[in-house]
């Protein structure tokens, strides 16, 4: 199962390697990894996505928490949280219907066009892993030259009870199925 781990760690050299080493030493692949400083520049937030049995993830989360410089490691999968990643997608789209198709898909997914040339478009798409993956699947037949995904970042919900996301219009699963 896919797990999103959120780790607060002292922002020092070598700590990231220590964290990643816990996965590689067990033969587990890290699907995505993002690191950046928090409000306190001495502390960094690592968001790491991996796949493994619940027991394995529990053991790794324990090992992470045991690390001297790790302040907190949480498996977000067990909590209500918001997860986002960004993808930059370079799509083949010459003049004509192909370009219209790409633009229309981008519109449905509320993705931005960030660059355009005679025969291609670069789209910036944001969403959770499933949404970004869905857009990529839809764009594939049109010809994707290159994609770069940031990997997920995640933050806990304000309240466990909060349902649905606010204003700036997330597309729900039903719409995606179109």
């Amino acid at each position: 199962m896919r797990h999103t781990l959120s780790i607060l760690v002292e922002n020092r050299f070598g700590e990231l390697s220590r964290i990643v080493g816990l996965f590689s030493a067990r033969g587990y692949n890290v699907e995505s990894l993002t690191v950046a400083e928090t409000l306190d520049p001495k502390i960094a937030r690592v968001t790491l996505v991996t796949t493994g049995s619940d027991q394995t993830i529990e053991q790794i989360t324990g090992q992470l928490n045991k690390q001297v410089r790790v302040l907190e490691a949480v498996d977000m999968t067990g909590f209500k949280h918001i997860e986002r990643e960004m993808a930059l997608i370079n799509v083949t789209a010459g003049m004509g219907p192909a370009r219209q198709e790409v633009l229309s898909l981008a519109g449905i997914f509320r993705a931005k066009v960030v660059d355009v040339s005679r025969d291609g478009i670069i789209i910036e798409a944001t969403g959770d892993w499933a949404k970004v993956s869905a857009l990529i699947e839809l764009l594939k037949p049109l010809g994707i030259r290159d994609i770069v995904r940031t990997g997920a970042v995640a933050i806990a919900r304000l309240s466990e009870q909060t349902e649905g996301e606010t204003a700036d219009g997330e597309i729900n699963e039903e719409e995606l199925a179109v």
């Binding site: 760690v9 050299f13 070598g14 390697s17 080493g21 053991q59 324990g62 045991k66 001297v68 410089r69």
Partner: protein
């Protein structure tokens, strides 16, 4: 003589009196002063280019810091570990960059697996050369990251004192372990004021000592109700100095006690409540008791695969109370029904506080259980075929026990000799058994014994090793003789890599592949070449005399004991089998 000469004329520094401290110090001096602050008096090490400044300061401070010059960095770290295990203090090793550090890795990994507190200082090439493939450069923090509790690369001399303070704190607190501090040569040469921090600030590191009281209460209630309880105890009891509490707990409740290999001595082996070691080569009755129990009280143990056998067959009817200072040990291999995070001693104290003196629960209640255990014991006692032709290895251990009365500090390597020792030597107390448990390192025993002997010059310290393992670190004989050690080495010489041979006999149709030591050195002459005494016993009637002479002769003595070549260790739980599926021999 050197101590009396002036540095200016000939380069020899005068040994300084304690307390003489310059205002600004170079990093090397800060390191030494910090070690003194931590109460270190002995360092095991090996010099080299990157640690020259440090050795210069060590020379100056030789009145306060005793440095033992080893013959190989692996030996240095094993010695530091033997010293640490025997004393309970943090062991310190000092090695140079590159090969010095890589040679130390086996020792560091060994200490990591067996939770031994060590601080290993390694030299590094100067900062500006890091990453240039400089002479004797290795990425030491990278190499040791997975086998240390924590490690440091010190990039600023002003951080050095604080790093050393933290290193010792991390090494000895919580679940102890090795910490490596890598110091570039130029950092040891730069100067800074020496301020030793009063405390450490590690917001992410707060090991808990005391257990959650509710959990402890529940555990005690379960113990009072259990009808087939077993105390399964290990190295955590020794690390936390909890032997007294364990004895009290076991006696108060008449609980059977089975120690792991790492726990040997944490409970007196000859005690009526002791079942002996459990696991792959444990006693039949300890393994049966664990398998049939309704409550396992596991304290300071980690359910190692050599203990549990096949996990799906492990103690099917038992509820498990698991006490450990390391939360990741709980439910790692076997699910704990009642996990308690806390150090063994503190939690046992909490348990005892919940058991009033008049609360002598058990006796009668457990009588059926004890009767059953006695029956298992009668069914398959530890036994071997006696011989008056060849020395049986078990007999060798029994003789060593008789001659030392279970009071010696004994270090072993890994393999058959180690298992026979665990079975037949009855340790009276903790910190007497020094063995390589987790990593299973050949060559550990002799340097570890030497390290323990440095800590306790007057005690009987014995390295009990095989002919294979001894050859891996035999060069430390030079160290032993140089420092006028009294360490004794008993080589259980069966001319084989015995445990591997045993597995080849049982599981590979007896095809002995590269396990026969077709050429062994003459260990007596080897001892003599190093300036030690060498003795040999080849027949059972010579054994006692040789051991007696060897153990009482002052100085370093190597006793080459030729034992039955193809004897196997029994009982045995084959790999993949359950604890009840023992081969009794």
């Amino acid at each position: 003589m050197a101590a009396l000469m002036e540095r200016s004329s000939n380069g020899f520094a005068e040994a300084e009196e304690p307390g003489e401290r310059p205002q600004l110090m170079r990093g090397a001096r800060i390191l030494c002063e910090a070690l003194v602050e931590e109460g270190v008096d002995t360092i095991f090490g090996y010099p080299g280019g990157a640690v020259l400044h440090i050795y210069d300061e060590l020379h100056r401070m030789r009145g306060q810091l005793h440095h033992v010059l080893c013959r190989h960095e692996q030996g240095a770290v094993h010695m530091a570990e033997g010293y640490a295990k025997a004393t309970g203090k943090v062991g310190v090793a000092l090695v140079t960059s590159g090969p010095g550090a890589t040679n130390a890795v086996t020792g560091i990994a060994n200490a990591f697996m067996d939770s031994t507190p060590l601080v290993v200082i390694s030299g590094q090439v100067p900062r500006k050369l890091i990453g240039t493939d400089a002479f004797q450069e290795a990425d030491t923090v990278g190499i040791t990251r997975p086998c240390t509790k924590y490690n440091y690369l010190v990039k600023d001399v002003r951080d050095l004192a604080e790093v050393i303070r933290e290193a010792f704190f991390i090494a000895r607190s919580g679940r102890p372990g090795p910490v490596l501090v890598d110091i570039p040569k130029d950092v040891t040469g730069e100067t800074a004021p020496f301020v030793y921090p009063e405390s450490v600030s590690l917001p992410g590191y707060r090991p808990s000592l005391r257990g959650n009281l509710q959990q402890v209460k529940r555990a005690v209630d379960r113990i009072k109700e259990a009808t087939r309880p077993v105390l399964y105890v290990g190295g955590g009891v020794i690390h936390s100095n909890g032997s007294k509490e364990l004895l009290e707990l076991a006696e108060k409740l008449t609980l059977p006690v089975t120690p792991t290999l790492m726990g040997l001595g944490c409970f007196p082996s000859g005690h009526r409540l002791s079942l002996g070691m459990l696991g792959m080569h444990g006693t039949y009755w300890a393994n049966m008791a664990i398998s049939e129990s309704d409550l396992i009280i596991a304290i300071g143990v980690r359910f190692d695969d050599r203990v549990t056998g096949a996990l799906d067959k492990f103690a099917p009817g038992a509820e498990i109370v698991h006490v450990d200072v390391d939360p990741t040990s709980l439910s790692k291999n076997v699910r704990a029904h009642l996990p308690v995070v806390g150090d063994a001693r503190s939690v046992m104290q909490q348990m005892l506080a919940l058991l009033p003196d008049d609360d002598r629960v058990t006796g009668a209640r457990l009588s059926d259980w004890w009767e059953q255990i006695e029956e298992w014991k009668r069914f398959a006692p530890l036994a071997y075929e006696k011989s008056d032709q060849v020395i049986m290895p078990q007999y060798l251990v029994e003789e060593l026990h008789r001659l030392t009365q279970g009071d010696a500090i004994i270090a072993t390597d890994v393999g058959q000799h180690q298992m026979w020792f665990a079975q037949y030597y009855r340790f009276n107390g903790p910190r007497q058994s020094l063995t390589s448990g987790g990593l299973g390192t050949m060559g550990f025993g002799f340097p570890a014994a030497l390290g323990a002997q440095v800590a306790f010059p007057e005690r009987q310290v014995i390295a009990f090793v095989g002919d294979g393992g001894f050859q891996m670190t035999a060069q430390e004989l030079a160290t032993a003789v140089q420092y006028k050690s009294n360490v004794k080495i008993v080589v259980m010489n069966n001319n084989y890599l015995g445990m591997v041979r045993q597995w080849q006999e049982f599981f590979y149709d007896g095809a002995y592949s590269h396990v026969n030591m077709q050429w062994l050195p003459d260990f007596v002459k080897l001892a003599e070449a190093y300036g030690a005494v060498g003795l040999r016993a080849t027949r059972p009637d010579q054994l006692r005399g040789v051991l007696q002479r060897g153990l009482t002769t002052p100085g370093v003595v190597v006793m080459d004991i030729l034992v039955s070549e193809e004897e196997s260790v029994f009982p045995m739980v084959p790999a993949g089998a359950g604890l009840k599926e023992m081969v009794l021999g």
